[in-house]
């Protein structure tokens, strides 16, 4: 964020080395703010799960929250894939929890004390890597279980013979697009939401700087709007994590239960 005049809404996405510096040639591995926020997400997930490990017969609030979340993931996987989906629960849990916590941590209001939350999932390198992981699992499971019969996934039941090549191409393309849609959906939802918040935030600051009447006319509506957008963003955080996890299970289901 630039001091005084202009506020750059894109600055929040900057990846900065906290230790060391970038190698200008690229490909350097350093401890960045992104790394730090991933570790914070990891710690938060661990803390959350640790609170649910009391293993009481009658659960307390925390244990109930943990059991509710694990039950939710369990349900999602078993309804989408069936009993064979049990072995994918840890993976789905991992990406769901990581995305959920990374999204949420990007919204923590530590800006009021001078901190800068960094949204890990607002980078397509991150979302793309996770999408590639999901897609690789789909390919590995599909080809390992069904060998070349996996290609019949691209021919829906009851396709007339002359239509098969055309349908095959269309289904193949839609299949290949899956990792991109998976990655871009999360990346864009997070980026757009944070830009929106930052733009309205800068409206508040600039309106107040411009005088009382501007403050009343611009800053107050902007503030009310930002309250609602923040609530909406919290919802989007959960929904995007859910969508990513759900689509991953659905794609795995394609590979696990071919047709």
């Amino acid at each position: 964020m630039a001091e005084g005049g202009e506020i750059d809404p894109m600055h929040q996405f900057q990846v900065e080395p906290l230790v060391g510096a970038w190698d200008p040639a690229g490909g350097s591995i350093v401890f960045t703010n992104s790394t730090m926020w991933m570790l914070i997400a990891l710690a938060a997930i661990w803390l959350f799960m640790w609170g649910g490990m009391k293993r009481e017969l009658v659960p307390g609030r925390w244990q109930l929250a943990v059991e509710g979340l694990t039950g939710f993931i369990n349900n999602m996987v078993s309804t989408s894939i069936g009993p064979k989906g049990k072995k994918y629960i840890p993976f789905v849990f991992t990406i769901f929890m990581f995305i959920l916590f990374a999204n949420m941590l990007g919204l923590v209001p530590i800006g009021v004390v001078g901190g800068h939350p960094f949204t890990v999932t607002s980078h397509f390198v991150i979302t793309g890597t996770m999408a590639v992981m999901s897609f690789s699992i789909v390919l590995a499971v599909g080809f390992w279980k069904h060998k070349l019969k996996f290609f019949t996934l691209f021919i829906p039941h009851g396709t007339p013979l002359p239509m098969v090549p055309l349908i095959f191409m269309i289904e193949l393309i839609s299949f290949m697009v899956r990792p991109f849609s998976l990655a871009l959906r999360l990346f864009i939802a997070m980026t757009a939401g944070h830009i929106l918040l930052k733009v309205f935030g800068s409206f508040i600051v600039q309106g107040m700087n411009a005088g009382a009447e501007y403050g009343l006319l611009v800053s107050l509506p902007s503030f009310l709007l930002i309250v609602f957008i923040s609530a909406l963003e919290l919802l989007v955080c959960a929904i995007q994590a859910y969508v990513f996890a759900l689509l991953t299970t659905l794609y795995i289901n394609d590979a696990e239960n071919l047709h």
């Binding site: 990846v15 690229g26 591995i29 350093v30 997400a41 490990m53 943990v66 990406i95 990346f187």
Partner: protein
Amino acid sequence: MPQIDQVMISYASQIVSLLVVLAIIYFGIAKAMLPKVQNTIDARAKRVTDDLAAAEAAHQRADEIEETYRNQMNDARSDANGVTTEAKANAAAENDKRVAAADEKLDAKLAEAEVALATARAAALTEIENVAVEATQDIVAKVSGGKVAKADASKAVKEVMANG
């Protein structure tokens, strides 16, 4: 847009840290902690199912006990009815016997009384006859001065009395 501007410079750092963190979550939390949470849920679900089954069994047992109790009550009631009827019949028979015995006694008394009555009447008749004979003798003696033998007088009296 930093996401695009910084791709070449930061991709390795981001990917490596992501993979490390995801691996820690996968092996440290999803594989280690998640099954325990799941076990707790399963154990609770099993316990609830078992408890419900036990409650259902207890309920059935209670129903059975109630059924047995009701049957026993019915049996006892019908037994009691039988006993009462028998007792009533016995009492009635006893009663009849006593009444019959009393009747017999009364009959005997009645017969005795009748015999006594007949004897008394016969005695009275003889007395009247004797008196009548004597009266006849007296009347004849006074009216005609003659004497009538007792046998004749008695004969005449009997004739008259037989005529009424």
